[in-house]
Symmetry: C2
């Protein structure tokens, strides 16, 4: 009994660790690679919502079968006083934590809170050490998460040369990156920084940020990217046939890539509709709940490259003729964007895209030893899985969310109520909940059961021997 | 390098497993014990909220340092059609899952959905096999979570003989357990079932349910408990000095035990107060947020036994002169009750009580090999950790939760906003999110990275060799 229990455990650990040990002991072995998959806003509510739809309440998705599960403390500080913590992050500061190992303030891309110092990212370290590096996202490639791994700028909104000085977002939110303009010796806007970068693969959306005229130049940012050695692809076919000796910049939409799934019939999450009497007192009257919704394929998705296709292309390019290893960040961005805008079906479809990209990554890791696959989220999101039938139904009172509700019909024939109730504006808030982290078996023994978000950087650079 | 990496891992696994192996190979070894600690409603939001307050945003609580972290799929079915899943549980069906390994419907205590069959619990199995068993809670001992481990009844509200037939909760919710009355050969109400049980230790609140006259008897339920061999304690001193040769029933309040912490000055979570103009359009006008609140000791707590004290007494009694082992369930119940009623400070204090009980359990496990300590939640809760300063502040629009908000001043000098926005009634809803599960090192290799809630029962009975 003793041997049958103990041997397999030790053997499987030995199998996990042996290649790591060999890499130190003797050259040559397979190079070390890290694939970091980020589900933007993908906390446990979003995972449960997606699982219920995609696999059923008793089903499993591939995240559930990962060898290791951990939890991540998301850390944010106040920009005016970096000694003061804030309890809820945005994607800029949380991606910067993962990319650089530092804690910073909301809105910052690869720069320190208050002092605006440039921070060294894992992509910087990887390229310096001769490794390859790639960034894949379903958002604008200049968006907060992808850009934090490459760019250094004080505000996430400075995505192109026209957004650097005296700019306004939606005619309301002022943006100022004037200290970062090239005329003052700065690195320029995010798209300009990406165009000038030595990142081997950049795939996502955001053509709009590259078609602008570059600062101090008659050329567009896209033309500058070509001059710096990028092959430009704007469709899946071009992406796949891009010449191997060039860097690859794939831009497959003007802005964010469309979401795969949508509510049928252009529906939205809606507010429950209480009767007049209910306005007099919350225990009076009745309430009409929104009609249920079905999810369907989003027609606008069309021939947009799927996240798994982009991931596959990136892995092929990064691993080919490469004896030094690579770092790849893959983001399913619109789990967050759909949740902000109360699109439960959008969230589910984009989480599905993440699981497909994870399948590609795990298959790669099976064939290429020394590949650490990590999956995590940058921060929590507002969407909550709520009872469709109130726990208090038997009291016969009008029980309803004060926010927006999507009552989604799931394939297993049940109504799943998703609650959005953090504010009534154009977008819901993030939340400050700890987020999950998963690893393939290569992560076992290297990732504790809980870590801070900047410590993800430490795990990755340590694995790649970059420090 | 190889040996230094591999040896400690194999050694530590060997240390974990060796006693298990010996228990099979050769007698006598230390008996096997399971301590299951349940944080009612304790999902990752509640843990993060409590950690931020108790240890700071960068701090750790003992849950974070556990050897194993897993996640639990909470499963619920419709009572009329048990083939139909529901996505959100209550404490009755989720505790029944952990106690019996079966999936049931909301409100049921140890009985099957639709068919009302009695289900065999881990306490039943433990007692049959000669092990000891104990239940500790901060709720009424007749409440859903504790009673699911012992009692079998169709509705959780049937806590005492007067609640069995034609009863009403809050004069609105009808209750009917008429098929379970003793006159019809049933087991009687929950308090009567507990009074007649052979559970060695029962500690919590709920004297109100034992002071009622027992069905078909001139005696109270409490008198019946005495006759069945229970020593009755109603204060900490009595609890600690109870004779060792008796079963122990400790009832330290009429109802639920008071919560340790409360808002200072009898404050409540409040609704943001928008200006008149904001009623015309959500982008107009302004909003006044509720004042911040401080947490303080709850004066009503008085000399109520703390959860750690009850846990310690239970562990002493269950382990003394016991060569067969035991099962102990410890519940911090009012993480849920406080969250239902929007008492962020109450939630935090009761989660702190859970961590203290966990310290007691871990200390016991250090001294008593073969003790598996599991910590989990039964379901998610409404409370969300939200930004106190909206992500959209720079747009200068009135951003505010449509629900209730507690803006808690934390010891590290920051305002933590807790959002309650699932309904406007007297109590918030549960949520359907997966909940965390933690284990001490005894659980490593025995608990997968994800499991269903009924599988927790399987892990425990397998560990105790009860099946």
């Amino acid at each position: 009994m003793k041997s049958t229990i103990l041997k397999p455990l030790c053997l499987s650990l030995a199998m996990v660790s042996s290649s790591a040990v060999l890499a130190v002991d003797s050259e040559p072995t397979a190079p070390r690679n890290v694939i970091l998959i980020v589900g933007d806003g993908m906390d446990d509510h979003q995972i449960t919502i997606a699982r219920n739809y995609l696999a059923g309440s008793r089903g499993k998705i591939n995240l559930d079968e990962m060898a290791l599960r951990s939890s991540v403390q998301v850390l944010t500080v106040d920009d005016k006083d970096p000694s003061r913590p804030l309890y809820v992050a945005d994607s800029a500061n949380s991606a910067t934590s993962m990319a650089t190992g530092e804690i910073t303030s909301r809105g910052r891309i690869g720069t320190s809170a208050k002092y605006d110092q440039d921070l060294v990212s894992i992509v910087d370290l990887a390229k310096q050490a001769g490794l390859k590096a790639g960034i894949v996202t379903t958002a604008n490639i200049t968006d907060a998460t992808p850009s934090s791994f490459v760019a250094k700028i004080s505000q996430r909104e400075c995505e192109n040369p026209e957004m650097m000085v005296d700019a306004l977002i939606y005619k309301r939110k002022p943006v100022d990156c004037s200290q970062d303009v090239k005329a003052k010796g700065g690195p320029g806007s995010i798209s300009e920084q990406l165009a000038a970068s030595n990142v081997d693969v950049l795939l996502g959306g955001g053509m709009q940020h590259f078609s602008k005229q570059a600062e101090g130049s008659s050329k567009t940012v896209l033309e500058q990217a070509k001059e710096s050695g990028f092959y430009i692809a704007d469709n899946a076919s071009d992406m796949k046939s891009a010449p191997a000796d060039k860097k690859l910049l794939g831009l497959f939409a003007e802005g964010n890539l469309p979401e795969r799934m949508a509510y049928e019939g252009e529906r939205e999450a809606e507010q429950p509709d209480p009767s007049m009497l209910n306005y007099l007192h919350k225990y009076l009257g009745s309430v009409e709940m929104p009609d249920t919704v079905k999810c369907e394929s989003n027609a606008a998705f069309g021939d947009t490259p799927e996240l798994r296709e982009m991931t596959s292309v990136a892995l092929n390019r990064l691993s080919e003729k490469n004896d030094k290893g690579f770092f790849l960040m893959v983001e399913s961005a619109s789990i967050d964007k759909a949740s902000h805008q109360r699109r439960a079906c959008g969230q589910i479809g984009e989480l599905q895209q993440l699981t497909e990209a994870l399948d590609v990554a795990l298959e790669f890791a099976e064939k290429h030893e020394n590949t650490l696959v990590l999956v995590t989220a940058d921060h929590g999101q507002a969407a909550q899985l709520m009872p469709d039938t109130s726990l208090f139904k038997a009291f016969d009172l009008p029980a309803y969310s004060p926010g927006y509700v999507a009552r989604v019909e799931t394939p297993e024939g049940v109504i799943m109520a998703v609650n959005y109730a953090t504010n009534g504006l154009f977008a819901e808030e993030h939340t400050g909940v700890n987020v999950p982290l998963f690893a393939n078996k290569e992560g076992v023994g290297k990732v504790p059961t809980m870590l801070t978000q900047p410590e993800i950087f430490n795990v990755m650079v340590s694995y790649l021997n970059l420090k």
